[in-house]
């Protein structure tokens, strides 16, 4: 466990926060798709550390960024962090994404953008990121922050308030013929749609899953997802799984 000072906080669109922390040891080892457990400061009231995907790394500065929506008490406390305050982090944890092949298609729905930005930034070879949300204010990561070398970005909202109008799957379908493999993170319904497209068009697919956790290291068995051979642990068998190995329930 490492004590990590906050170096920058940015409150983004309504209810979204980006926190950057100094964590040199953690940053040295982390790769895309992994997560950290963030321990709460008022530990007697909030017993459990919060699992958050690594959103971005600056390996030279030894800093990592977390992007999250304020959804409950833990994320509210975290969004209230001030620069210089020190938070205890455990990580990097879990099994992340495999290395991106050329012609990778990255698909993010809502907060699912968090691990995919780290993944998208891991290479400069041609790749596409489809980033969708219900409406513009739900695009937690400002699309103008996603200008990365070699990355084709397609932004979509269901109400058309930003980017193309439609849902993520509508955008994915026409891209499949020129795609090597899919990498997705987002709401379960979106993941189910992506997985069924990948099966229909015989493309390899990986999904990053979210589940409530207590330990984050594979001990407490609290964060299971059903698989073909019984339950798997989201924290230590995942959070990234080959799509064919898990059964997604909404």
């Amino acid at each position: 466990m490492q004590a990590c000072p906050v170096t920058e906080k940015r409150i983004l669109a309504a209810g979204h926060c980006r926190l950057t922390l100094k964590a040199p040891v953690l940053v040295r080892e982390a790769y895309p798709g992994q997560f950290v457990m963030v321990y709460m400061p008022d530990e007697h009231r909030h017993m459990l550390p919060r699992p958050l995907s690594i959103f971005a790394l600056d390996r030279q500065k030894g800093e990592l960024s977390l992007l999250f929506a304020v959804k409950g008490e833990g994320t509210r406390l975290l969004a209230g962090a001030i620069t210089g305050s020190v938070w205890k982090l455990l990580g990097p944890l879990g099994k992340g994404f495999p290395a991106l092949p050329p012609k990778a298609l990255l698909i993010a729905g809502g907060m699912g953008i968090a691990p995919l930005v780290f993944l998208a930034a891991s290479t400069e070879s041609p790749r596409t990121l489809v980033y969708g949300a219900r409406t513009a204010s739900q695009l937690a990561c400002p699309p103008e922050d996603l200008e990365l070398p070699g990355l084709k970005l397609i932004v979509t909202t269901e109400d058309g308030s930003r980017g193309r109008k439609g849902n993520v799957t509508d955008m994915v379908y026409p891209l499949l013929s020129d795609t090597e493999a899919l990498f997705a993170c987002g709401p379960v319904k979106m993941l189910q749609a992506v997985v069924s497209l990948s099966e229909k068009y015989k493309k390899k697919a990986w999904v990053s899953l979210e589940e409530r956790m207590a330990c984050g290291i594979g001990a407490c068995l609290g964060c299971v997802v059903a698989g073909k051979k019984g339950y798997s642990l989201v924290c230590s068998d995942g959070p990234v799984f080959p799509a064919k190995e898990v059964v997604l329930h909404g």
Binding site: R45, L48, P49, A214, G222
Partner: protein, 308 residues
């Protein structure tokens, strides 16, 4: 003054410190090897082992509550054979004293698991989880009925010469009746409390939050309940007590010992601070120095003497 000794004897098990890792959160310990110093623990209670593998409950299995944790893991475990072949050999290497928790759906299952664990070296004691539903009694938990408690504890007693702990459920009308039944059936010590039964509802989805609907509540929220039950049971039996329920500090642990516990166990508390055993050890030593105690045994039940 020299540092006070922390040794205690829990029903025949010599412990280097009166601090144990409770059954469940620690699993079989491996995951915590880099996070905690096992030397601070007197013992580790391995997560419940059943005869056959148990798959556990559907997700979600966890929810945080104010100062608490609601869980319905469902006693997921790989079964006796896997445990003996794959987990026990590793556990022997680093566990201070090893107590294995056993679970079952029938009296026979408990007995077979107890027998299997007793025939292997490296196990220092058994802890019977009597909160499991008894399939032959219509799903009534063994631990809610003195006669069923007596039946399952005596069946296990006949299979093992190892020190035997019985873990009591707080979800009963009279915990002292259950405690006496366990003692009469041959228990060497009692562990209490297990989690308090509870539930939560997701108001947006309009359905229970846990996949299993009901779960067990642990964490600081349950501490006063646990402490009271340790107090009551200490009055009712003469065998030692392993106290647990929401311990997150040395002060919490000392309260349990003052109420009559011989030793304490931490569970949920390690989720927020894996170094909790070390913290408790330091705090107990400091308390013993300040109050001039040379062994934890001198603290045991002391608050009761003042109240009598």
């Amino acid at each position: 003054m020299a540092e006070p000794g922390l040794k205690v004897n829990l029903g025949g098990i010599e412990l280097a410190t009166p601090i144990l890792a409770a059954s469940g959160p620690f699993a079989y310990g491996h995951q915590y090897r880099e996070l905690i110093d096992f030397k601070n623990l007197g013992g580790l209670i391995a997560k419940g082992v059943s005869l056959e593998p148990w798959p556990g409950n559907p997700p979600p299995r966890l929810a945080e509550t104010p100062a608490g944790l609601l869980n319905a893991i469902g006693l997921q475990n790989p079964g006796l054979t896997y445990f003996l072949e794959n987990e026990l050999p590793l556990l022997k290497n680093y566990s201070p004293r090893l107590i294995v928790n056993i679970v079952g759906c029938t009296v026979d299952e408990y007995a077979v698991v107890a027998s299997g664990l007793s025939s292997e070296g490296g196990v220092d004691g058994l802890e019977i989880n009597i909160s499991c539903p008894n399939i032959k009694a219509g799903g009534l938990a063994f631990g809610t009925d003195p006669a069923l408690t007596y039946e399952v504890v005596s069946a296990v007693r006949r299979q093992t010469t190892l020190p035997l702990l019985v873990k009591l459920s707080p979800n009963v009308t009279s915990i002292t009746d259950i405690a006496r039944a366990a003692e009469e059936a041959g228990a060497d010590a009692l562990s209490l409390i297990n989690t308090l039964s509870g539930m939560l509802i997701d108001i947006e989805e309009k359905r229970p939050l846990l996949g299993n609907i009901f779960g067990g509540l642990s964490g600081p929220a349950v501490l006063p309940v646990a402490l009271k039950m340790v107090w009551q049971v200490a009055e009712a039996v003469s065998i030692p007590i392993l106290g647990m329920g929401g311990i997150t500090s040395a002060e919490d642990a000392i309260q349990f010992i003052l109420a009559g516990a011989r030793a304490v166990a931490v569970g949920t508390g390690i989720f927020y601070n894996p170094n909790l055993p070390g913290l408790i050890k330091e705090g107990i030593i400091d308390y013993m120095i300040r109050h001039d105690f040379s062994t934890p045994g001198q603290i045991e039940g002391l608050a009761r003497k003042g109240a009598e």
